[in-house]
């Protein structure tokens, strides 16, 4: 839930009891005042009657519409007021009445009780409409505050949301995002801190990339010397078996170094920002298979392809090429004589399944840089981490599992 929606929700939850309570209190106060007024009128009326009765005057039972008077002999009572309900045959409904009892002394000196009732029909309506007005005012007030707050928050939080969006779209290899300026101290401080952090990240990223490239380039010249010397060394006639073995070891080590350097550079390049495009996967796989036809023929691998659906996995051309190349080379390199490679594309994924030795392979660690199924193998172990890198860059997922004794490498929407 968004911040603004959440505050609005809390405000509404707060406003609701406020309206109810405010209306109730308003109703109570009005009711009380009205009752006091009515009671006073009843009291005045009673005083008049007491005066009349003490002089032996007669009492009119219905002195005015909605007023009733009754005098009954009895002991002297204290003045008391009460609410009651009287059935009105004319209106055919119960009508609230306010009743007051008063002591009176008749002309003959005997005690009596005067009961004066007054219909509350009109006052009730009045009180109800006043309460309703209070409720209306309160609701209106709450709504106005809510909307004002919402508008204000929207305005105040605008730089925050803009910066949040900038942060979400930030990539260390992309341009520096423009952060929204704000004259709110907290937001200005946050933008400053964020800007500094992003600048640092971009600088670190560039420095690291630069270092990788520089290191790779710097290593190339000494490697060229090493290889050159080795090429000269093997020309010596009558080389003994021992020396030949040593030299071969040096060639292998130099080769490994060359490959690692190339992979490091490629890895640095794969991370570059390019817009993803729709990829013609069958074409790309066929091209790469063509390059691999020699090793495939030597290992007698059977290659099956299954382009069942239009694949929607999008990548930049370079990334797609590196991905396909690494997937296939991995599948061929770690295969076995007479094995198979099965390529499948579905709407959301590209999958390569291959036979091959599975003992000692931990699928979970293979995506890490320099992780190798075979520690003494010729590759530097950067191939699959490139696959992983491409996946991360494009919001896809690369998975490697062993299923039915086969290696299954999938790339696509998780």
């Amino acid at each position: 839930m968004r911040l603004l929606q959440r505050t609005a929700l809390y405000q509404s939850l707060f406003a609701l009891p406020l309206v109810v309570l405010g209306t109730a209190i308003g109703y109570g106060i009005v009711r009380h005042s009205v009752n006091r007024e009515v009671d006073e009128q009843l009291d005045d009326h009673a005083k008049l009657l007491q005066e009349q009765l003490s002089h032996g005057g007669a009492v009119v039972a219905f002195p005015a519409p909605g007023v009733r008077v009754r005098v009954a002999p009895g002991p002297l009572v204290a003045v008391q007021f009460a609410d009651t309900v009287v059935y009105d045959a004319l209106e055919a409904e119960d009508i609230p009445w306010r009743i007051g009892r008063f002591p009176a002394t008749l002309a003959d000196g005997s005690a009596a009780t005067i009961t004066i009732g007054r219909s509350q029909l009109e006052t009730d309506e009045l009180v109800a409409s006043i309460a309703l007005s209070i409720a209306a005012v309160l609701i209106l007030f709450s709504l106005c505050t809510l909307m004002l707050y919402r508008w204000l928050s929207g305005r105040l939080w605008r730089p925050f949301h803009a910066n949040l969006q900038a942060m979400e779209q930030f990539r260390p290899d992309g341009p520096a995002p423009a952060l929204a300026a704000s004259n709110v101290d907290e937001f200005a401080g946050m933008a400053r801190a964020l800007g500094g952090m992003m600048d640092n990240m971009r600088r670190d990223y560039t420095a690291q990339k630069h270092f990788t490239e520089q290191a790779a380039h710097e290593l190339r010249t000494p490697l060229a010397i090493l290889q050159g010397k080795l090429d000269q060394l093997i020309q010596s006639p009558n080389m003994a078996e021992r020396e030949a073995g040593l030299i071969q070891g040096m060639f292998v080590a130099a080769d490994r170094m060359v490959r690692t350097i190339k992979d490091m550079l490629r890895l640095a390049k794969v991370g570059e920002l390019h817009p993803p495009e729709v990829v013609d996967w069958p074409k790309l796989f066929h091209e790469e298979l063509e390059l691999l036809k020699d090793p495939i023929a030597i290992l007698h691998l059977s290659v099956k392809t299954n382009w069942t659906e239009n694949c929607l996995v999008k990548l930049s051309p370079l990334q797609a090429q590196v991905l396909v190349s690494n997937l296939l080379r991995n599948a061929v390199q770690h295969n076995m004589h007479g094995g198979s490679v099965h390529i499948t594309t579905t709407r959301d994924a590209v999958t390569v399944r291959n036979t091959g030795p599975i003992s000692g392979v931990d699928p979970s660690g293979l995506f890490q840089r320099f992780a190798k199924g075979d520690p003494s193998g010729p590759s530097a172990g950067l191939g699959l981490s490139m696959v992983q890198e491409i996946a991360e860059h494009n919001g896809y997922k690369a998975t490697y599992v062993i299923r039915d004794g086969q290696h299954v490498l999938s790339f696509g929407r998780g």
Binding site: H217, E218, R220, T221, L223, A224, I225, L226, Q227, G228, K229, L230, D231, Q232, I234, Q235, M239, E241, A244, G245, I247, Q248, F251, V252, A254, D255, V258, R259, K262, L265, L291, L292, D294, P295, I298, R329, V332, Q333, P378, S379, G383
Partner: protein, 226 residues
């Protein structure tokens, strides 16, 4: 062939120079920009090997100057930078080839030979060894004048051996040359061995002499000497 090696790294310069001299080439070298430029203008070379990063200048400027002065000479750029941009720029300036470091010296020899072949009028330059004749331009191999049926890969392999005849070629140099990038991840010894075996079989079936020698633990050599 007269070759100028422009390379500031003394050990590498020495290695290239030594290897090419053993090939029978006449090699001169320069270790910085001014001396390289001077030599390039003063002497006539069949080919130049130019490193891009040089003391006191850039190798690409040498390429530019040589082409501007219309000096007929093959140019191969040897660079520690292996980027498409550098390559395109170098070739645009008039270089004939671009060889990223590190490279195997037999690869350099093969590139030099190819360069000279391209420069020769008509380009007909067959390489003969024993009763075997390799015609690079037509991708043809003849044994005693008769065409030998050979795959493209086998041809590449044989040509690489032949242009470096009498030299021992390491397995990694051969793999790198024939399979390039692919060799990176595919260097199984049996992979190369299988191709050599097929090639030998085809040559033997046509009565070619046993020319391809195995140098134990190292690689192969083609030679018509015993």
């Amino acid at each position: 062939m007269k070759v100028l090696v422009i390379e500031d790294e003394p050990e590498l310069r020495r290695a290239i120079r030594g290897y090419l001299q053993e090939e029978g080439h006449l090699v001169e070298s320069a270790n910085d920009f001014p001396s390289a430029l001077e030599r390039a203008h003063l002497h006539a070379y069949d080919a130049m090997l130019v490193d891009i990063t040089l003391p006191k200048g850039n190798g690409l400027d040498i390429v530019r100057a040589v082409r501007k002065a219309n000096i007929a000479c093959g140019i191969i750029i040897i660079s520690a930078k292996d980027s498409v941009d550098d390559k395109v720029l170098g070739l645009d300036l008039g270089a004939d080839d671009y060889l990223p470091k590190p490279f195997h010296l037999p690869e350099l020899v093969a590139r030099l030979r190819a360069l000279v072949r391209r420069k020769q009028a008509g380009g007909q330059m067959a390489i003969t060894i024993g009763n075997l004749k390799v015609i690079p331009e037509d991708k043809r191999v003849e044994v005693d004048g008769k065409l030998l049926d050979i795959t493209a890969t086998e041809f590449e392999l044989l040509l690489f051996l032949v242009v470096n005849k009498e030299r021992v070629l390491s397995r990694s140099a051969i793999l790198e040359h024939v399979w390039g990038d692919l060799a990176e991840r595919m260097d199984r010894d049996d992979f190369l061995y299988a191709h050599i075996k097929n090639l030998r079989k085809k040559l033997a079936s046509r009565g070619a002499a046993e020319l391809i020698q195995t140098i134990y633990g190292i690689g192969y050599r083609i030679s018509d000497r015993a």
